[in-house]
């Protein structure tokens, strides 16, 4: 817990590239406020989490989603995640898990990674993996998974 407290209250700097990445405030191991105005739509989040091309979630995570035989085993099962973590904790883990575990394979979904040498493909350059609204939908859905 002391480790988490170290992160304290930090303002994440926006890379300023693309209209879709805004700034957010990290409190402990959570982002308390939604990335964009208003609550996400859990139904949309439900559909998006199983979208193997867009969100990619189920490539690594299993959970109470369709097509269980196509779920990955690289990351924790998301069943009951809404009981284990708060909304704000889930939000930070989707936005930037590397802040909590620098070596994680979980991509930072709300970050532009155009650094020299990264070779980000042209179509993906200057864009986060998902928009703030997409992430809010996913967060809204995951908080409903109570077990």
């Amino acid at each position: 817990m002391a480790c988490l407290a170290l992160t304290g209250l930090l303002l994440a700097a926006s890379p300023g590239a693309g209209e879709e990445v805004g700034s957010y405030v990290v409190t402990g191991d959570a982002i308390m406020e939604p990335l964009v105005g208003g609550k996400g739509d859990p139904a949309r989040g439900d559909a998006l989490i199983s979208d193997r091309q867009r969100s990619l979630c189920t490539l690594c995570h299993s959970g109470p989603f369709p097509d269980a035989h196509l779920h990955g085993t690289l990351a924790p099962d998301l069943t009951g995640v809404g009981a284990r973590l708060s909304e704000g904790q889930i939000r930070l883990r989707v936005v930037d898990m590397k802040r909590l575990a620098p070596n994680t394979i979980m991509p930072s979904y709300y970050r532009v990674a155009d650094e020299e040498g990264r070779r980000v493909a042209t179509v993906w350059r200057s864009k986060p993996i998902l928009t703030g609204a997409d992430i809010e939908d996913i967060v809204a859905y995951l908080t409903t998974l109570k077990g």
């Binding site: 480790c3 196509l70 779920h71 394979i105 930072s108 990674a113 990264r118 070779r119």
Partner: protein, 259 residues
């Protein structure tokens, strides 16, 4: 107290990255063959069923076919491939005196075409180039990949290792993220193998055809949303070099079959 925790975090992170950098332990080394279903293994094991054998047959024809202004066939210099090419694929990529760099089997075939046959290079992933490469590599089937001995290749191999461990693309993943740290687990519905190059060129059911190791490396780069290196790029050959070192001791399987 906070400083101590911070230090512990740094030590932990370093330990994790050292474990990842160490790669696959010798006792755990397994060909991609071992991760497949029995059905796909049977397809590879039976030459009458293995679709990659069609490329071997085409390659055999091309081996004996005169080409270029010199009107000479591969066989004109190299004779019977079953003797002269035996073991060659297990030693590639090899140091190329002319360029002072490693070259892979595909590169060697095209440079031989230019220098000896005075012919145009064959296009990357063309049927003819894959067929010739598959035919040559097939001559080494069953032979284990020998230890690396040519000291001139070391800096290139080191660069291959660095590339293997570098996070790239929008998804910010390295080859090692999956193939060192998480082999044996599932990505989507597919088991992640250890990224050994010992079956190439190979028939991939997903491709419905034979493809090169470079094609596979480029696929993975596109998968992590990175700009793939061009076919024949030095970086891809350096990655191949590193993969061969990592696979040392595994037998050549060309033409392997993979899902």
């Amino acid at each position: 107290m906070r400083a101590l925790w911070g230090l512990a975090g740094v030590v932990g992170a370093l330990t994790c990255s050292m474990v990842a950098a160490a790669g696959i332990k010798d006792g755990e080394k397994r060909s991609g063959f071992d991760f497949m279903t029995r059905e796909t293994q049977a397809l590879q094991a039976d030459d009458m069923a293995n679709p990659g054998m069609l490329w071997v047959l085409q390659g055999e024809q091309l081996w004996h076919q005169a080409e270029g202004k010199a009107e000479i066939a591969c066989a004109g210099c190299h004779g019977e491939a079953s003797q002269t090419m035996r073991g060659v694929a297990a030693r590639y990529p090899a140091y190329d005196e002319a360029t002072g760099r490693p070259t892979d089997l595909v590169g060697r075939i095209n440079s031989c075409r230019a220098a000896r046959q005075e012919a145009e290079p064959l296009a990357p992933e063309s049927d003819a180039l894959l067929a010739l490469t598959t035919y040559v590599a097939h001559q080494s089937r069953g032979m284990p990949i020998p230890p690396a001995t040519d000291a001139r290749l070391a800096p290139f191999r080191d660069n291959g290792r660095r590339l293997f461990q570098s996070r790239i693309g929008q998804l910010d993943l390295s080859c090692a993220s999956c193939h060192h740290t998480n082999w044996g687990k599932r990505l989507g519905g597919s088991v992640i193998p250890q990224a050994h190059p010992n079956g190439y060129p190979l028939y991939r059911l997903e491709w419905q055809g034979v493809g090169s190791l470079q094609r596979r490396l480029r696929n993975c780069m596109v998968g992590v949303r990175a700009e793939p290196f061009a076919f024949g790029a030095p970086e891809l050959v350096e990655l191949e070099l590193y993969l061969m070192e990592q696979a040392q001791g595994l037998p050549i399987e060309t033409p392997a079959v993979r899902p």
